[in-house]
């Protein structure tokens, strides 16, 4: 590709921004599922900005490698553009297609201005395609990264949310588990429980699995590990909140819970815990 050909592209964009954006919007109306006034004006504004930057930057370079510092500003714009789409719930394909849809109207302009120079037209088309492809792909990249960030943040929040250890009574702790137990969560649960045992000097920990939807061999193994670790710290564990289906599953899977005290409800487990710690509750009204 020659310096001339890229200059030609920049020159073409200049002066035709409005027409390009209009054509893009028309194309978008047919392609995108949701396309309202708000996103239309936003896309208009952002694509106009993008075209401005392209106009400025295309003449400065012959490479369309986006790692070049010349493209930093363009990349910044695309990042914002992509993040806005993530928030609005666009798919990555829809987001990238906005960029790719700019190609068609630009090709039209090129064809119109270079009808008599087929050689240069081919070169221009190749350059433009390469440039817009890398811009579009960059958008997808950023889009994906933004999504992953959201997912990992939510995972972190979930991890923090779902592992409280509460003190029910002197020497008695309760650990209400909610949701599926995977290895990462087990680790956090275990650490929290052991830490709390040290802090409170608890003798009994009640692990309530009412909120655990399914118990498979892995979950059971994680439970047993937690119980073993608590025992090493001198605290006994009681498992409570076992639903009938879960009892059936545990037996069918052949999981050995024989060394562990199990109770159907947290209340039952609490009574046992009080008995073991030597405390008792009497009803003063009776």
């Amino acid at each position: 590709m020659s310096q001339d050909s890229t200059l030609q592209l920049a020159g073409l964009i200049k002066g035709n921004e409005a027409a390009l954006v209009d054509e893009l919007i028309t194309a978008m109306r047919n392609k995108l599922m949701r396309f309202d006034k708000a996103s239309e004006s936003e896309i208009r504004q952002q694509t106009a900005q993008l075209l401005k930057l392209l106009e400025l930057n295309i003449p400065k370079t012959t490479t369309h490698n986006l790692n070049d510092s010349i493209w930093a500003e363009t990349k910044q714009l695309l990042t914002e553009f992509s993040h806005a789409r993530v928030k609005q719930g666009y798919t990555p394909a829809e987001t990238a297609s906005i960029i790719f849809s700019l190609k068609e109207p630009i090709f039209k302009l090129l064809r119109a201005s270079l009808t008599d120079q087929p050689q240069q037209l081919v070169e221009e088309l190749a350059t433009t395609t390469a440039l817009f492809d890398s811009l579009g792909l960059y958008t997808i990249d950023v889009f994906q990264k933004a999504r992953e960030m959201v997912i990992s943040r939510q995972q972190q929040e979930l991890l923090e949310l779902s592992t409280p250890v509460v003190q029910l009574w002197q020497n008695v702790l309760a650990l209400p588990l909610i949701g599926t137990l995977d290895s990462a969560r087990t680790q956090v649960v275990m650490e929290n429980l052991l830490q709390k045992i040290v802090e409170t000097g608890a003798l009994i920990a009640i692990i309530d699995i009412t909120g655990v939807p399914t118990v498979d061999t892995l979950v059971a193994q994680h439970l047993l590990k937690t119980i073993a670790a608590a025992r090493l710290m001198g605290a006994d564990c009681i498992i409570s909140g076992i639903r009938p289906q879960i009892a059936q599953t545990i037996v069918h899977l052949g999981v050995n819970l024989e060394d562990v005290i199990t109770k159907a409800t947290l209340a039952d487990a609490f009574v046992i815990a009080l008995k073991k710690t030597g405390a008792s509750i009497t009803n003063s009204a009776a």
Partner: protein
């Protein structure tokens, strides 16, 4: 040579591990402790590992073996003061110290042994 002290408290023996356990030290402790159980006719052994923050499978097995030996000599072993990180490590290593009693601190351990007498 470095040795871990074994203190006598009535019919109990108290072993406080304050230094990093290495294998040689662990073996020496095992010998000393079995000797002392017989000599002092001890009924209980407290092993305080609150200062221990690193364990490996060898030390884990050593504790478990020591408890088994003490049991043959009619002394009950209680391991006390285990750190959370140590407990997690032992469980991950598959050494849940079955057959060894545990307590949160020395006080609880003594109470546990007193109950047995």
């Amino acid at each position: 040579m470095e040795r871990i002290p074994i203190l006598r408290m009535g019919s109990l023996l108290l072993v406080t591990i304050q230094v990093d356990m290495h294998d040689r030290l662990a073996m020496t402790l095992q010998e000393d402790l079995t000797d002392r159980i017989v000599k002092d006719r001890a009924k209980g052994v407290l092993i305080d590992i609150s200062a221990l923050d690193i364990v490996d499978s060898f030390i884990g097995r050593m504790i478990s073996n020591t408890a088994a030996m003490a049991k043959i000599l009619d002394a009950k072993t209680v391991v006390v003061g285990m750190q959370p990180a140590v407990a997690i490590t032992l469980v991950e290593l598959g050494l849940a110290l079955e057959g060894v009693s545990t307590a949160l601190n020395v006080e609880r351990g003594i109470a546990m042994l007193a109950q047995r007498e």
